[in-house]
Symmetry: C2
Subunit: 133 residues, 2 copies
């Protein structure tokens, strides 16, 4: 699946770029929701992290079809629109992953976990990519 990402846009997925994903989900009432979110890309999957019970967790769990935009922070006219599907969710390693994301975006691993919260990683496979710019 990594071949879906055009080489000329792969920099948007790098840790150095620190780009956000604008993740669109569909709520149970059929209306959309969109939120900026950290991500990592492992060459095959996009991995998102949230906490159990939050709206994002509930929507990703129920409605596996997602779409997101990753925009170049240095050039708003250069971006990828990606649609994909949740193919896995796991609590295993999810605290490690949010600390890893914290390191990517903030340069340190001390992510402020809330007492009692359970982190979860959602794995998304990209199915369609359009580029602009």
């Amino acid at each position: 699946m990594s071949s879906l990402i055009p080489e000329t846009f792969s920099d948007l997925l790098s840790r150095e770029k620190k780009a956000f994903a604008f993740l669109a989900l569909v709520k149970t009432d059929g209306s959309p929701q969109v939120t900026p979110i950290w991500f990592d890309y492992d060459g095959t999957y996009f991995n998102f992290n949230t906490a159990r019970g939050r709206l994002k967790d509930r929507l990703l769990h129920r409605h596996p079809r997602v779409a997101f935009v990753i925009q170049d922070p240095q050039n708003p006219y250069r971006y990828m629109q990606i649609s994909g599907r949740v193919v896995g969710e796991t609590e295993e390693g999810a605290v490690e992953q949010i600390c890893d994301l914290c390191e990517k975006y903030h340069g340190h691993r001390n992510y402020p976990l809330r007492p009692g919260e359970t982190r979860v990683t959602y794995r998304v496979v990209p199915e369609r990519i359009q580029t602009m710019g």
Copy 2:
């Protein structure tokens, strides 16, 4: 409705900020779509502009519930999440409006209209706003 926008975030809507809206729509098959788009805000309504027949046009026409994020281009951790509803669409003045948006974002009014395309303005009323940052 203008009172929905917190005064401390109203700068994100200014012409000077040139912020994009990340507009989430729901496709006919129930999956989401998200795209960066120009907007203007007139104190009551958010106005978006597209061309007749494009996917955005078809989705805005059929599914009036929308959501969008407006993020501070200078600080990705500062943003508004807005959900709302399409309350009007018109071709009248839509060419003027896209030229006005072009002036906001590019500093000139020479928007490159395609031969034969019909522009349309969608008016969205914000119903719920959450802020971050």
